[in-house]
């Protein structure tokens, strides 16, 4: 069978080179095919696009305000602060809330003979095709209008260049950071480190906002403009302020600022390209896991983690034990737990320490605002935290994916399933919520409010569990089976957003009695809040599991089909 093989083993040069155009067309094709025959997906997409347009329009008028009013005094402030917030938003929001659209999964390109530069440019350009990018583009053209009306054509043209560069910077930053964190969360060695790092980074958002708002309240506009000028010289603000610089006669600043932007962009792309490589290889092999020896006890004893040893060795106990292990071992679920921890701390601090002002006429600074907080405001902030914690379960079956088949095959009753899932999640979340409540009470120097905070939290959390159980059964969607815990299916990002919004709205409505009680009952409520809240939360959760369990019993196969990723 030995045929003569020519000695020349170098492959023939490809006839055509691959360019970013191919990636763009591939992305459009994949998006289009996702829509095929799925009316509701198209509807969701259109809804999301409209929502994006609405945000884009409001952003546009904010950015264009100095130009429209012909008042250039705050132009730099608005451009630098607004643009900087845009970049920060692109950095943090995907990490903490939304995830990134991974329509084109880098791992799929691992076998193609593509130079890394082509791959990175291609994926980058493909990433630009999305509704959020379009929305930001529209909004930021408000800056162009401002620059044009203040400084004529030349300033407007420079602003166009700046705005486009800024947009590229936003997308590059979000890709580089999520990709790097995904790599770290995947690696077994630095996974815990990454989790802590992510939590700390996100937790920084809270204090930043507090100081930002406190500074705004001091309202020394001249000083703020000074700060904005400084921000304008960092990559955060540089691209957004060039047009205004030209308009205000600082023409020399434009090339320098554009250079700053380009250097930052290059650094981000280089960083992304490095973690991208590990993502591509990582899909093939995540490295050998250490074979941990020292197995003690039988199989059943091994299943139950320390946090769930109290559970009975039965169906309910097995579900709780498996879920408890999953919240810890599954990168996607861990990322969600971290989000809860972060949000749980910064939302109440934000509302009570700074936002207290909006509810109560107070005003001067940090400490005064703290003492101005009222039981109603505290309860409202606790409602928000409880709702945000519970909403993590809105797609709890999506986390399992097709593995949920095991429960369907075993015929697990829906009520047991849902109660066990609530219990396992609460094992992690309730201690966190308790911690938040205690810390907040002491931060406000109102230790007597501990009952109030815990009561409000537990009541909302329980009500949220009930609402989200039902939503998780009726509105589940599949998550991609990639190793990137931040990845979303295209279109699913929007579905996720709307579903989350719905779940939160309903949960808030269910929790309203706690706020009303706090407003009407006065001091008596300080004592009643804890027992009443706990009973309310527990009752709501059990009722939710009872009702949603019935629905689940009837649609187990359908649920399995919706959470199984299409391949």
């Amino acid at each position: 069978m030995a045929l003569p093989v020519s000695a020349d083993a170098t492959p023939a040069a490809p006839v055509r080179s691959v360019s970013a155009r191919h990636f763009v067309r591939l992305k459009l094709r994949v998006m289009g095919n996702n829509f095929r025959g799925q009316g509701w997906r198209i509807a969701l997409f259109v809804g999301g696009a409209l929502l994006g347009l609405w945000f884009a329009a409001s952003g546009f008028f904010l950015f264009a305000a100095p130009g429209l009013t012909g008042n250039g005094r705050y132009a730099v402030l608005i451009a630098a602060a607004g643009g900087g917030l845009l970049v920060l938003g692109w950095l943090f929001l995907p990490l903490v809330f939304f995830g990134v659209d991974e329509t084109l999964d880098p791992a799929r390109f691992a076998l193609l003979p593509l130079p890394r530069r082509t791959l990175v440019t291609g994926l980058f350009v493909a990433a630009l095709i999305s509704v959020p990018v379009l929305a930001v583009l529209i909004a930021s053209f408000g800056l162009v209008l401002t620059a044009w009306s203040l400084g004529g054509w030349s300033a407007g043209l420079v602003a166009v260049v700046g705005v486009l560069a800024g947009l590229l910077l936003c997308v590059a930053a979000s890709r580089a950071v999520t990709s790097a964190f995904a790599t770290m969360l995947r690696s077994r060695r630095v996974r815990d480190l990454a989790a802590v790092l992510l939590a700390v980074t996100a937790a920084l958002l809270g204090p930043l906002q507090v100081f930002g708002l406190a500074a705004l309240r001091e309202a020394d506009w001249a000083r703020l403009t000074g700060v904005a000028t400084v921000i304008g010289w960092t990559p955060l603000g540089a691209p957004w302020t060039v047009g205004i610089d030209v308009a205000q006669g600082r023409v020399w600043a434009a090339p320098v600022k554009l250079l700053i932007t380009v250097v930052a962009l290059g650094a981000l792309l280089a960083w992304w390209s490095r973690s991208l490589e590990s993502a591509m290889v990582g899909a093939a092999s995540a490295g050998k896991a250490p074979v941990r020896r020292g197995v003690t006890g039988g199989a059943v004893a091994q299943l139950f983690p320390r946090i769930a040893t109290w559970a009975g060795r039965d169906r309910f106990g097995a579900l709780v034990a498996r879920e408890a292990r999953y919240w810890w071992r599954d990168a996607r679920r861990r990322a969600n737990l971290i989000t809860i921890a972060v949000v749980g701390i910064f939302v109440p601090v934000l509302i009570n320490v700074t936002g207290g002002d909006f509810a109560v006429e107070g005003g001067a600074g940090f400490t005064a605002a703290a003492s101005d907080s009222s039981p109603v405001v505290v309860t409202i902030s606790m409602v928000l935290v409880g709702v945000l914690a519970a909403v993590t379960l809105a797609n709890q079956f999506g986390f399992d994916g097709s593995a949920y088949a095991a429960n369907v095959v075993a015929g697990v009753p829906g009520r047991v399933e849902l109660r066990a899932r609530m219990t396992a999640f609460s094992l992690y979340v309730l201690p966190m919520l308790g911690f938040v409540a205690v810390v907040l009470s002491f931060l406000l120097s109102r230790p007597e409010w501990i009952g109030l905070t815990i009561g409000g939290l537990v009541a909302t959390y329980g009500a949220g569990l009930a609402v989200n159980s039902l939503i998780s059964v009726l509105g589940a969607y599949s998550l991609p089976e990639t190793s990137n815990p931040f990845a979303m299916n295209s279109g699913a990002g929007l579905a996720k957003g709307l579903l989350t919004l719905l779940a939160m709205l309903v949960s808030v409505v269910v929790a309203v009695p706690m706020v009303v009680a706090a407003a009407l009952l006065g001091d008596a409520w300080l004592w009643l809040a804890l027992p009443v809240g706990a009973a309310y939360g527990l009752g709501a959760a059990l009722l939710g599991a009872y009702l949603a369990g019935d629905v689940l019993d009837r649609r187990q196969p359908e649920l399995l089909a919706t959470v199984t990723p299409r391949r």
């Binding site: 074979v291 059943v300 091994q302 097995a318 071992r329 095991a406 089909a561 199984t564």
Partner: protein, 254 residues
């Protein structure tokens, strides 16, 4: 009652996905105690049929009975009698092998002591004991098939339904799986499995059904279906494969 009921009976099962017909009315009787092979080319509807038979996928029409219990009307009883290993479905793979077995056992309401003892035996026999605390996600393809089989066997089902149990399995593991299945069938259990490996089917099965294009093309005992020829010949004839002439793909030779 098991005497009069077939282990698995399918009547008019049909399923359509987005306008394409995946399964177009399948009738099948699997006698109790038989070793039943469901043969078919890729995309013939084997997985869809088996999923509908075990309660994982709701059929558009038709019904399925396990030992006389309707899978879709009385799922609790039917599922108790069934052991299932689906294909293309993840396990709860962030558990270790032992944890996964314990989970499945308790989920089926078994006594913890029995779960412990059976899990240890299964891990030992299937040569998975060495994996220790390795998570199932880090298992090789063959190990994943074996732990999936162990999960399906753990509660001692009367009927075992396996989707592609020999796919992506090395010869040593395949021999092990074959041995275990043969012993299970000899002990009075019924095995239904899908495959497109003729050699395994010919060696193991007492009955065969050939599925193509969503309908059953041939069904009966293995000798009836073969009719004196080799199973492969019958299969290719039924499915209607084409043979290459040698003219195409000339660029493949260097």
């Amino acid at each position: 009652m098991t005497v009069e009921h077939p282990a698995l009976a399918l009547r008019g099962l049909a399923k359509r996905f987005d306008g394409t017909i995946a399964v177009a009315g399948v009738d099948l009787d699997v006698p109790a105690g038989s070793f039943y092979g469901l043969l078919g080319p890729n995309g013939a509807g084997k997985t869809t049929t088996l999923s509908m038979a075990v309660g994982l996928l709701r059929p558009d029409a038709g019904s399925a009975w396990v030992l006389g219990h309707d899978v879709w009307q009385d799922p609790v009883t039917a599922k108790r009698l069934l052991g299932v290993m689906p294909d293309g479905v993840r396990l709860f793979d962030r558990l270790t092998g032992a944890e996964l077995l314990a989970y499945n056992g308790l989920l089926r309401g078994m006594d913890p002591a029995v779960v412990d003892q059976r899990a240890a035996e299964l891990l030992d026999v299937l040569a998975l004991g060495d994996a220790g605390r390795t998570l199932v996600v880090d298992y090789s393809a063959g190990m994943k098939k074996k732990i999936g089989l162990a999960c399906a066997l753990l509660h001692g089902p009367r009927v075992l339904v396996l989707d592609e149990p020999f796919e992506a399995v090395d010869p040593v593991s395949a021999a092990l799986i074959r041995d275990i299945l043969t012993r299970y069938a000899a002990g009075g259990g019924t095995v239904v499995f899908s495959s497109h490996v003729m050699e395994v089917v010919e060696r193991l099965c007492s009955h065969v059904a050939i599925l193509a294009g969503g309908t059953i093309k041939r069904v009966g005992t293995i000798d009836e279906v073969r009719g004196g020829r080799s199973l492969e010949q019958v299969f290719v004839e039924v499915v209607g494969g084409r043979t290459a002439t040698g003219e195409e793909l000339s660029w493949l030779s260097q």
